[in-house]
Amino acid sequence: MRLVSGDTANPKNMNIRSVLLSTAALVGALHADPLAVEKSELKLGFIKLTDCAPIVIAKEKGFFEDEGLQVEVIAQSNWKVLLDNVITGNLDGAHMLSGQPIAATIGIGTEAHVVTPFTMDLNGNGITVSNSIWEQMQENDPSLDVDQPEHPISSESLKPIVEDLLAQGEKLQMGMVFPVSTHNYELRYWLAASGIHPGFYSKTDLAGRTDAEVELSVTPPPQMPATLEAGTISGYCVGEPWNQQAVTKGIGVPVTTNYDIWKNNPEKVFGVTRKWADENPNTLIALTKALIRAGKWLDETEGDQLVHREEACRILSQPNYVGADYEVIKNSMTGTFIFQKSDVRDMPDFNVFFKHDCTYPWYSDGVWFLTQMRRWGQITEAKPASWYHEIAKKVYLPEVYLKAAEALVAEGHLEDAEIPHTEDGYKPATTDFIDGNSFDGHKPIEYLNSFQIGIKDDSSFATK
Amino acid sequence: MNTLSFPMRRNFLELDQVSIGFGPTPTRVDILKDVQLSVAENEFVAILGFSGAGKSTLISLLAGLEAPTSGEVRMAGKRVTRPSPRRGVMFQSYSLLPWLTVFGNIHLAAQQVFPEKSKAEVREHVERYIEMVHLTAARDKRPHELSGGMRQRVSLARTLAMQPEVLLLDEPLSALDALTRAVLQDEILQIWEQEKKTVVLITNDVDEAILMADRILPLTMGPEASLGEAFPVTLERPRNRRTLTDQPEYQHLKAAITAHLVGLNQEARALRGGSLVPMPDIAPKEFHAPSKITGLKWKFSA
């Protein structure tokens, strides 16, 4: 097959060509054979948030191409549209909220079996309140009224405001991005940790406002700052760059990040439908390989310096990706976070893409989301512990991840030590929460029953 | 179509006790009542009447565009039930299709009437008629680019191009200025002399009728109009409009017809019980005309 026809005859070109061939031989020895992918032209969806970075980087740095994949990356307007597009087949896969594959699989909202072989990042969200709420919080707790208040800031100082409003027959309104999003659970966790009730979902109450002291509503991330400024909501929980936007534009004050609520919590996953995964097993492995490489690239350090983050910010700030200003994206991505104009802090783990065994699809993550769904009534019936494990295993695909990771090790892109070696796919129990509660993925019912606020199930379910 | 091979038919085109009216039965008004007409082959008949007397309705009946309420319209002994290119109509308002050129308008008719002709033949046919009405220069113009006279020529050419056996001319020249009208009258006559067709001309112009027709039939005042006594015109052909007026027969004929028409007019007024005092042609702001005369215009051009 003569593909570079004609030019070889030209002696001027002989030189470059022979050089090419010799380097190619070298590279060829390093590269393993590409997988026989079932489908080579793919469309992946994302939402304009910095944590879509692994997908964007895998594309821009050519990791997809190395797997023989031609990938088009398409921005979606909101999570619902994104999920629908994945389910209807307009997209092959997408950047998803961790709760989305689980919720779709168990039929909260749109029902479809969605699976994930890859966790895209840890942390990365913040809770922002409006300037006036912040002032009132400072009044309630003068220790907050300094240039750099001590962290973590709990919702303790918000409580009197909520109570005052309740006495006037009103409820504080706050925004989150999607009913099954991490943001919803984090905001609820933060509120409930100080005894503020964020309301239950039920079969009839799909807005989740039963017994609520603070009412939560869904607002698309890009509209958060504008909605906050308009006064429709008094605070919100969202990913970047929308907290930094609020503070740079002087609309609100980020009071806490989800790192403070739960250290190194899983945030986004890469999701495809079960059907798609079954039809394209090799393509899925190839995609996972490229995404793992992208995650590793993003978290590569020299000393404590993240070396690729600035380039990543440049790429993300392109209008077809996140598109926000480079300077804004850079803040959180390079490990600084502006809480107030007077309060700029280093947050090296604000966005984690690879460290802390981030990319591995842990069953325990799935269990945590399931417990939160049950805690707030999105799962309307009591379920036995075995069900939690079963669902987590239906949605999370560590076997695909491991195949991809091992292939990368064989190709020299990954070291074996970088793959988490786990016995059962559960992370060890942790107490890294704002309220100090302990979470063990093996014991969902006990965990559920350990909360002050929230639905509790009969302890007999723990052994079923 | 060779008319010479047949003997002349006396009752070529007939109206037999024809009445036509409009409106629902109880309040129905007959526009024409018991009209009797018989036109011989190759005869040129002029029907003379006031505006609104029902002349156009008469043409519509002859053409088959409208069906009589009672009585029968016959052509060559056969009952007329619908329009046909055998009876070519030339409308007062030209009725040219504004999106077609002169050629296109005539071509549409020719093509439709002679489907058996080849494309080239039809084209040649059309060109011939354009030339006949002296419009070769304006061949590719659209109607709105033409003067009234030229438009009527197109209309004439279109009608002739259908090679009808009967030409029904519905006040074709009444909208034109006197000069153009004279020229066209001559042209029509000239063509008629050549082609020798049966012609029914509707007009409100006595001079025109005398100049052109073999026989003049005044239409009585509507409603319930009918054809009155015929005035045969025996003036020799070809008639010259300049010398015609000097002939005593012409003067006599014109006087007789005019007197007849004026009489009809007065009779009609008397019938309506109206005053004989001439009224200025001004309508009061809120004038509710008696239903019988609604829509009538008082116009008589001699």
Partner: protein
């Protein structure tokens, strides 16, 4: 010649040019100059006045979403949009370059990258110094307000705690007092609350002053930041471009793949100790890989010019669907009053429905027909049509087009019915005399008569369709101008606001162009005096 030109100008709806032509040919210069003043000068002056007013007023209005962009900022944003397109096209072409052309481009880009890297480092340094300097200036500027606020706030807090303590103590003593003393104490409490409130108001005022002082921005920082960003963007582009020219170029990829294929083949043919089955399948896989690489292209992201073309494609698709439905139904309505009566309620009911309501319904229905969009026959068929295949026809595109059709067909329908209904009776008589059959009557008499009105309707429809399309694209996220607007809005970058303005002008300009085209067509089919504008 002159009259022909004038006629063309008139038909094209560019009648404002005719005085120029007349002036050039020396016809009534005085009158022509007057006309030029009226039809060319006056609009130009108004437009310039508008630009001036805009550039004066815009900076005065500040929103938290960003400053209202001035014309020059908008112009800059337009450049930015174009630059993005230009660079992506360069990458696309770079990927395909071969031989010496690639080599020289590689050298050029490498040299430029070196240059840009130096410039960027310098710009970053400059930005840092300017930042430091402005930070000092910022702090000095803010300091008095901050001190004032801090002091007052501390006073207020102290007052509050102190008073509260005092009053509490006093209240403790009042346990056995009479009602008068208690009344007095209440008055005192009230007075105290008032003082506290006044103090609080003062604190709030100072806080407002402090926040306002914090709003202080330094244009030179912004400028330096902009300069650094531009260079940073170019650097990023060049890095990627070099990659597309070098290691990731099709030529090199092919060379690698070919080399490996050759290796495997020779091994397959000569080996004695390897698994032939495994080698053989490998060989086949590598052949496949080679052929896909040979066809591969740079997956270029959607850029505005391409999005505009897709929007136009979508609006015309919708417009064609609308015309194909509206004209026949309109003709039937015009011909048959019964049919008209049957259709009227639907027209009245559906005409006012917003595209934002139609779209979700249409999307659900279209989605139902296309459970597997990529393999649906329509998508497959359209992906083979040249030109159209480049624009990725998908269910979203079809839904948007249908929505456009649903919203725009009414004007054409009503106008067609009107045109057909108002046909001249004399023309019908001609048709009857000629004994035209139904089809001839339809195509030779009825449709030509109605054509000017049909075109008037089509013109309205296209205008409506163009407006509807942008909304539909925003909602359906179908690639196009609407998607661009949505993306820019969600980007929320400092350029977003200006980019929206760019889109306003582009959408307006294209809408105007479409309208002019329709006017031109309308005039071509109008047989009488042309109804225009």
């Amino acid at each position: 010649m002159k009259y022909k030109l004038l006629k063309v100008i008139d038909t094209a709806g560019l009648s404002f040019l005719s005085p120029v032509v007349r002036l050039v040919t020396g016809e009534e210069p005085r009158k022509q100059l007057q006309d030029i003043a009226r039809f060319i000068l006056v609009p130009t002056i108004t437009f310039l006045a508008f630009l001036w007013l805009w550039s004066v007023v815009a900076p005065k209005h500040k929103t938290k979403a960003g400053e209202v962009p001035t014309p020059s900022v908008v112009w800059d944003a337009a450049h930015g949009i174009w630059r993005f397109h230009d660079r992506e096209s360069a990458k696309e072409q770079g990927f395909l370059l071969i031989g010496s052309a690639r080599e020289s481009e590689l050298q050029r880009a490498t040299a430029r990258l070196k240059e840009v890297e130096e410039l960027e480092t310098r710009a970053q340094q400059q930005l840092a110094t300017i930042r430091d300097r402005s930070k000092e200036r910022f702090e000095t500027a803010v300091a008095p307000a901050k001190t004032a606020y801090d002091r007052k706030r501390d006073d207020y807090r102290q007052f509050r705690t102190q008073q509260a303590a005092e009053l509490k103590d006093e209240a403790a003593l009042l346990r056995h007092s009479d009602s008068a003393t208690r009344q007095e104490f209440l008055t005192k409490l009230r007075r105290n609350a008032e003082t506290e409130e006044a103090l609080k108001a003062e604190v709030d005022r100072l806080k407002a002053v402090y926040s306002e002082a914090q709003e202080l921005t330094f244009p030179e920082v912004k400028q330096a930041m902009r300069a650094a960003t531009l260079l940073g963007e170019e650097k990023q582009f060049l890095t990627k471009y070099l990659d597309m020219l070098g290691e990731s170029s099709r030529e090199e990829k092919l060379a690698t793949a070919e080399q490996r294929l050759e290796d495997t083949r020779s091994r397959f043919l000569s080996t004695t100790d390897e698994d032939l089955y495994k080698l053989g399948t490998n060989l086949l896989k590598q052949e496949d890989f080679l052929s896909t690489t040979a066809d591969s292209r740079y997956a270029k992201p959607w850029t505005l010019p391409k999005q505009i073309v897709r929007s136009l494609l979508c609006v015309f698709t919708g417009f064609l669907i609308a015309s194909a439905i509206a004209i026949p139904i309109g003709i039937l309505c015009g011909l048959s009053p019964t049919f008209m009566a049957a259709v009227t309620p639907f027209i009245a009911l559906f005409k006012p429905v917003s595209p934002l309501v139609w779209l979700p319904i249409v999307m659900i229905i279209v989605g139902g027909f296309m459970p597997d969009p990529e393999n649906h026959w329509l998508v497959v068929a359209l992906s083979k049509v040249p030109f159209i295949k480049n624009y990725g026809i998908d269910p979203m595109f079809i839904s948007s087009a249908i929505t456009v059709a649903l919203c725009s067909l009414w004007a054409t329908l009503v106008n067609t019915a009107l045109g057909v209904g108002s046909i001249d009776k004399d023309h019908m008589n001609v048709a009857r005399v000629l004994r035209l059959n139904f089809t001839s009557r339809l195509f030779k008499i009825i449709v030509p008569t109605a054509l000017p009105l049909i075109f008037a309707g089509l013109r309205i429809s296209l205008g409506v369709g163009w407006m509807v399309l942008v909304a539909a694209e925003i909602l359906s996220t179908s690639e196009g101008i609407g998607k661009f607007v949505n993306d820019m809005y969600t980007n929320g970058s400092s350029q977003s606001f200006a980019q929206m303005f760019v889109v306003v002008f582009i959408v307006g300009f294209i809408g105007m162009l479409l309208d002019r085209i329709m006017v031109f067509l309308q005039r071509l089919v109008s047989f009488d005096t042309a109804p225009a504008l």
